[in-house]
Symmetry: C2
Subunit: 276 residues, 2 copies
Amino acid sequence: MTEDTAIHPFDSAIALTSLETPHHYRGSSSPAYWNMVGPFGGTSAATALQAVMQHPERLGEPIALTVNYASALGEGPFTVEARPVRTNRSTQHWIVTISQPESDGPVVTTATVVTAVRRETWSSHDTPMPAVKPPADTIRLGHKFEVEWVNRYEMRPLAGLIPEAWDGGGEGSESRLWVRDNPPRPLDFPSLAALADVFFPRVWLRRATRVPAGTVSMTVHFHADSQQLTGCGSGYLLGQARAQNFCNGFFDQTAQLWSESGNLLATSSQIVYYKE
Amino acid sequence: MTEDTAIHPFDSAIALTSLETPHHYRGSSSPAYWNMVGPFGGTSAATALQAVMQHPERLGEPIALTVNYASALGEGPFTVEARPVRTNRSTQHWIVTISQPESDGPVVTTATVVTAVRRETWSSHDTPMPAVKPPADTIRLGHKFEVEWVNRYEMRPLAGLIPEAWDGGGEGSESRLWVRDNPPRPLDFPSLAALADVFFPRVWLRRATRVPAGTVSMTVHFHADSQQLTGCGSGYLLGQARAQNFCNGFFDQTAQLWSESGNLLATSSQIVYYKE
């Protein structure tokens, strides 16, 4: 890949072409972000958001995104429908579905998005970034992963690394890491949404047991505007995730993503299926 | 109200009649839960969920609910469409819209719901209930509130009470309270969803300034099944809420709801508009 001219794999993964039917877009699932049985859920979230971002009727910028993973996306083309169902003076509400291959094909993903025009107000960042070592003082996960999407991120763990021994000896569920796209790419809303899903299932860490697990629903709340994201460039984000509860097949996972300069850019919660 | 025979105001508020068109239901906004410019958002969340609960094709029980408040519900009838867009072996995905008055009328609320059949697995409650005084040792908020919905809940604050003086002197954003329906009502999924929205806007507490504020999107993750909820009877729940970030017109609010016996029943996050 020639960095100056080639398209970034993330941009390829979320690329959408407008179809003739209003609100409809065509995309194709990305081998570069392949997970075990389909693409990385973060790219599906980013794709749903991307449809809203490039919709000609969009008002404002993303405030909230909820993505529900109804089924694994398969290889090949899919259709996104992003419909603005309510447009107010400064907020807009969207329903998004991803179907495969056509819009009348089975639904694989549902999503809702809220966009809004922000105005400058009193603000307060009440969740300061934890004091951690700077990225340069951390060790980058180096080896090539079999699960392809992991190779699309530069990860520098600080705490709560994936267990080295699957010995059932886990205790906590909190992880911290520096993370950014690989190769580096300027931050925007779709990539921030994908980064909210970059944490491996908390149940693996908590139990040091690798049970089958998969996200069922993820919500991202955005706390920054596009100007602030642009200001992050292709720098690292500090990601933190933990579970609050594991019960009969489903656990939750809350997450925070700060810019390297310490601004909380997004918070997230997801509910994840696990077996056994 | 005669307790033995009369319908509970919450059941009236979320009562839905099936319409001839499949997936469509008719309800009516409840004066008993009136907020400032429409009914309490908790009842709208509960209504969206109730449509799924009474749908003949429902599989399993609620796992995740996201409700987006596109506009205040007005007085009078509304139409709910609850459509199962994907049914898997053990999970089901729903898109719900509330329109007023008819289904082709303006959309006032969008929602997605995931239901699932739970199976017994390894479980761990990693967010223990904070050590607090039992409900009997707390003081019930006693006076009659002008905002009618507040009178539909029995609230026993423990910490982070609504400021007595709006003097701009706020610091933290965390509240804890014992809470249940008023009059008491056996807990179920719709009432649990409504209880997730029972916390007043964190910005009021944080700033001790009563700026206009309203929930834009709320997500609830359910950590209990109907049997566990039934086991709570009409007892108190311990509710806890705090904000992580306030930025240019929007803040978030995370919440936990435990049973009186200490089981984490639901976790929630919402993003809230505020002015100034």
